[in-house]
Each structure stands twice: as C-alpha cells, then as structure tokens.
C-alpha cells in the first residue's frame, strides 16, 4: 500500500459522533496485523455539481468478511460502491485495494473485484443466452474459454442453474436475471465482491437462496464482500459487520450485535400505552432491571430490560399490585431497531 497516513483530518462531525456513540468495532478499532485488510477507503468525498453525495466515507473490508453498508435512501451507499467499482471518480480521499491505489492503479484494481449493480433486469444482453453472455464478459476479462466453462459449471451448480444456461436473458424471471448478474460478478473468481442491493425486488424464496449462497461462498472461498441493502433482516443474517452511512458520512462500523446492544438493551417488554397509568409507568421505570422506557408508537411503550425473565417478572408484579390490566409483549431488539436508533441520533447531531 501507499503507506502514507491520511493527509486530511476527519471532519468535526464524525468526531463528535464518536464521542456519543458506542465504540465501533470496525473502523475505529484495532485490527490484528495478521488480518488482511483487503479494502481501505479513507475520507472519500464526492459531489454531483453542488449536491454533496459523500462527505466523509471511510471503511475497511477484511479478508473473508461480509460488510454491509446501511443507510437511508440518498445516504451515499450506491455512490460509494460505484467509486469502488471504478464506475465513478471520487473528488477526494484515499482508496487502497489489495495493495493498489485507486487513483494510480485503476486497471489492476478492475481485475480484483466483481461488481453487481442495481437494475439487474436490464444488465446483460437480452437476446444472448446465459452462457453466451457469460462467455462474452469472461473474454473481456481475458479468461480462457475452458476457464469460463469451468466457472459456469461451478456457479451453475452453486445456484442450481443448469436448466437456464441455454435460455436467452430476456426469457428469464427477475430472480433468474439477478442470479445471472451475480454469476457474472463472480465469474472471474475475484477476491472482492461488491453487491448493490442484490435481492432488491426478489421474492423471499429466491432472496433466501441467494443469501444462503453468498454466505456459503464467502466462507468457503474466503472472499470479501461489500453489500448494500435495505433489507435489514438480510443484513443481520449475512453481515459480519455493518457500516452506517448517513448524509454521505460513515459514522459507525460495528457488528450487528454491537449495534443492537448500543440501543441500550437487547430485549424489551412492551406494554399497551392506553392501559398504563402514569404512576404505574413511573414505578416500572424505577425498577432495577428496567434500563429505559421508550414510546415505540401510539400504542406501545417499550421498557428495555437487562434480563428478560427478571424484567418481565418484576413488571408483571407491578402491574398486579397496581391492578392494571394491560396487554404486554416481549420484543427482541432487531437490527431495524438499532438502525432507527442510530440514524435518529445521527440526524439529531447533524441537525445541530
């Protein structure tokens, strides 16, 4: 790698956020020397005219890791992936990929990643068969015919896709087209894979199969995968770490469990709001096992608990003593809760 430290100090906003957010296990933490960082992006900036798409995007992707880039619409996820895929040029910042500087070695870098962008419905030649499409794209990468055939064979086996290899791209369903585009991204056996919303618009069964494949593939082949997705259950299931991006800034990178833990409690007891008198609510909030109270929506109040059994028992006791008849339910904090929580905090900080 270039070996030069970042020339630009991080902007003030992320530093402030570091102070208020839990310590992230990724970007800001120590990484063992033995663990190879395949991709390192530091302080990447990008503007479209006057519009700022990326303000300060920094992340690292390690060997054999799935890193999910998570953020609201327009946060800059796709822009960052396109910069890494050399489809867009960044305005500032430093990107190193497997020893190559993105500014100086773009051609070398293009051999090292597989890219699956959005809009896969129309991203191969409609009148060519799956095999013909893959042969063409493989030839552009300098692959020999025999290598392409072997890779098609291997990927078709992974995806159980033999029956569709001789079909024209236009004859495939949405899920099958998506599979072809993922196969194309993996055809040259790249060490790095970028997937921009890979299961967008797919039915749950196809999406599940693709997820299962990706997980298995990354583990078996020791690939590194950068993923963007709006499907939080997918991110939770697939990713080793999650990077949160908001308004063009990556502020948190951590494991899904740590992100959830940062909400304050891993589990909560939710009680029907209309049936809960203020005095009872105050008593519950005062319990040792209750960490916080939060109004989830118009109907429910969530009480975060340190231990679900002890917490539930204590809350039920209070409800009985106050003779309150209210419905209650148990809720495990999901990545969605964590996402809403973190993005809410980030928005507040940005607005200030």
């Amino acid at each position: 790698m270039g070996g030069t430290p970042p020339t630009k100090s991080p902007p003030l906003t992320p530093l402030l956020l570091m102070a208020v957010l839990p310590p992230a296990k990724g970007y800001f933490s120590e990484v063992k020397m033995t663990q190879s960082v395949y991709l390192s992006a530091r302080h990447v900036q990008k503007r479209y005219g006057k519009a700022l798409a990326l303000e300060d995007a920094s992340l690292e992707l390690r060997q054999g890791e799935i890193l999910a880039l998570l953020g609201p619409n327009g946060a800059g996820k796709t822009t960052l992936v396109k910069i890494l895929a050399t489809v867009l040029v960044k305005d500032a910042g430093q990107v190193d990929i497997l020893g190559y500087d993105l500014d100086r070695h773009v051609e070398e870098i293009r051999h090292l990643f597989g890219y699956v962008g959005q809009d896969t419905e129309r991203s191969a030649y409609a009148r060519l068969t799956v095999t013909e499409n893959l042969h063409f794209f493989g030839a552009l990468r300098g692959m020999h015919k025999r290598e392409i055939d072997q890779q098609i064979e291997k990927l078709a086996a992974y995806f159980d896709f033999y029956a569709n290899l001789d079909k024209q791209f236009t004859q495939l369903s949405g899920g099958q087209k998506q599979t072809v585009v993922i196969m194309r991204g993996l055809l040259h056996n790249p060490p790095l894979i970028y997937l921009d919303e890979p299961t967008k618009g797919l039915d749950p069964l196809v999406a599940k199969r693709i997820r299962a494949f990706l997980k298995q593939f990354v583990q078996q082949e020791r690939k590194s995968l950068l993923l963007t997705s709006h499907v939080l259950s997918e991110v939770d299931e697939l990713s080793d770490r999650v990077a949160l991006i908001h308004r063009g800034t990556i502020s948190v990178a951590s494991t899904p469990d740590d992100l959830k833990a940062a909400v304050g409690a891993a589990e909560s007891i939710e009680i029907e709001r209309t049936a809960l008198p203020a005095a009872t609510r105050a008593r519950i909030e005062g319990l040792d096992t209750v960490l916080f109270a939060k109004e989830c929506n118009d109907h429910w109040i969530a009480f975060g608990v340190s231990d679900v059994m002890l917490g539930a028992e204590a809350i039920i006791r209070v409800l009985r003593e106050d003779n309150v008849h209210a419905r209650f339910r148990h809720h495990t904090v999901s990545l969605e809760d964590a996402f809403v929580h973190h993005i809410g905090e980030l928005s507040e900080k940005f607005d200030h």
Binding site: M1, G2, G3, P5, P6, P23, Y27, F28, S29, E30, V31, M33, S36, V37, S40, R42, Y48, E60, T79, K82, A85, T86, V87, L88, V89, Q94, D96, L98, G99, Y100, D101, H105, E107, R110, H111, L112, F113, Y115, G117, D119, T120, E121, R122, S123, A124, Y125, R127, L128, E132, F136, F137, A139, L140, R141, G142, M143, Q151, Q168, L187, N189
Partner: protein
C-alpha cells in the same frame, strides 16, 4: 485505540499479493475485438427482421436512384463538361450509395454500441471492466461492417455491371472504402463519446451525420454545390471518399476536386489523425463521464 490505515496492511504498494488469485487478467485488444464481433453477430441473427429491413431499405434506394437518373440530369458535371445524366448519373448515385453503406456501419457503429449498452444496462458493467474500451467499439464497428457487407455486395455488383469499370478500378473502390472506414470509425468513436456524456447528443449527432453525408457528396457531387457548401464539405473525410470512388467507378473519367494523390493523402491523414485523436478523447471523455456521473450512473 488506533485508527486502522493502510500502514497496518502487509501489502506492497502496486503489487498484488501472491495469495490473491483471480482469473481476470490483461487481454489483447484483438481478443476483445473478436469477442465483441462474435457477440454482435450472434445478436444480429436474433434480430433478423432488422436485417431484412436494412436490405429492403437499400433495394428501395437503388430503385429510386435508377428512376431518378432517368428523369434528371446535372449540367456540366459529365465527361468534358457534358450533362451528367442517364447511366452515368446512376453510376454517380450508386458510387455514393456504396460508401454510404459503410459510413452507416463505421460512423454509427460505436454510437449504436453505446445506445445498446444503455438500453441493455451493460454500459456500467463494461466501464468497470479492465478490457480496452476502444477495442470494444472497434469490434462493434467490425461486426456492423460484416453485416452491412451483405448490403454492400449487391450494390457493388450493380455498380460493377453498370460502370463496366476495370478490375483494378473496382479494387481501388474497395481500398477507398477501407481507408474511409478507418477514418470514420474513429469519428464514430468520437460521436459515441458525446452520446456517453450527453444522452441527447445521440439525436443531434444523427442530424449532423445526415448533413455530412449530403454535403460530402453522397447523393450529388460536391462540384454541383454552391461555393460556401463546397468549403463546408472540404474538412469532411466523406467528401474525398465519395470523390475517389466516383473517379474509379468512371474508370478515371471523373473530374476530381484535387489531384488524385492529394485526395489519397487527405483520406490517409484523416484516418491516422482521427484514430489518434479518438483514442485520446475516449479516455478523457470516460473520465469526465465518471466524474460528473452523467450517463454511466
């Protein structure tokens, strides 16, 4: 805590670690051209109505010019200042038509490639690939030239029969077409770059293309135009190509705009100059498109 940076990565700058394997490797422009030609030809066979339509289009043009040449004459452009009419006028039209077929392939091949890749959604993927973009466009042109040869051959035979030109003259017609094709392929790549940067440039380029064809002498010889139009025609490679083809089609009995060797020098200079310029512009335009995120995003 320590900020992780590239310093902690045991990679050597600019050298791929030996442990990192990929099947992607640098490849020759020739291989990309071959792959692109094969791809385009396959696709053409799956859009047969388009091919039939193009053939019908050319047949209609030939018949139209045959009828037109029996109905009109152009004063002062024939042999020894005689009117250009009848069989000679048809040969003149047919010569223009012959080159127009290949101009269609070369000038519009790259722009069609960009348009098709936009339609197919493959442009973004191609631009994240390590292969030569120039080779890809040249491959698209070659494929179109091969397909258009199906149109060219009948036109060429008609010309040979009507003009009764000698074999060397007919071969010179082919050579002229080839050199003009090289020049116009490069011009076509430059027009494709405009399409890459601005979607609307596609339509505007088509208007200019038709204008170039007309003032370059595709239908009427440049000598038939008023002075100003003639000056507009001189900077176009088409002009000299049409003029040379007419010269050889008439077995040397055609008043060229300049001396024949000068016209050859001009089209060869165009071919070399445009090729060099378009190669430079291709990378610059792609960079600009990627910076602005106009078309490729």
């Amino acid at each position: 805590m320590q900020t992780v940076s590239a310093l902690s990565v045991p990679f050597q700058s600019g050298v791929r670690p030996a442990a990192v394997q990929t099947l992607s490797r640098p490849t020759s422009a020739w291989r990309i051209i071959r792959a692109t030609v094969a791809k385009e030809l396959r696709m053409t066979t799956r859009y047969i109505p388009n091919l039939v339509g193009s053939l019908a289009n050319q047949a209609v043009r030939v018949v139209f010019f045959l009828l037109l040449s029996s109905a009109i004459s152009i004063q002062g452009l024939g042999v020894s200042g005689a009117p250009l009419a009848g069989r000679d006028l048809f040969i003149s039209f047919q010569s223009g038509l012959l080159l127009t077929v290949f101009i269609g392939a070369t000038l519009w091949g790259p722009i069609y490639a960009v348009r098709n890749d936009l339609y197919n959604g493959t442009l973004e993927f191609l631009y994240s690939n390590p292969g030569s973009r120039y080779a890809y466009y040249v491959g698209s042109v070659l494929a179109r030239v091969i397909v258009e040869s199906a149109l060219f051959l009948p036109l060429y035979i008609v010309l040979a029969v009507y003009s009764q030109a000698s074999l060397p003259d007919l071969l010179m017609v082919l050579l002229t077409c080839t050199v003009i094709m090289v020049a116009l392929t490069a011009m076509g790549v430059m027009m494709a770059l405009l399409a890459l940067l601005w979607r609307q440039a596609d339509s505007i380029a088509q208007v200019f293309g038709i204008m170039f064809e007309m003032i370059g002498g595709a239908y009427l010889p440049v000598n038939a135009f008023p002075g100003l139009v003639r000056y507009l025609a001189y900077p176009l490679p088409h002009t000299w190509g049409y003029d040379l083809i007419r010269y050889y089609s008439f077995g040397g009995n055609w008043q060229t705009l300049l001396l024949v060797w000068q016209e050859w020098a001009i089209i060869i200079a165009f071919a070399i100059g445009f090729t060099l310029a378009s190669r430079q512009l291709l990378s610059k335009a792609a960079q600009r498109a990627k910076r602005n995120g106009l078309h490729v995003i």
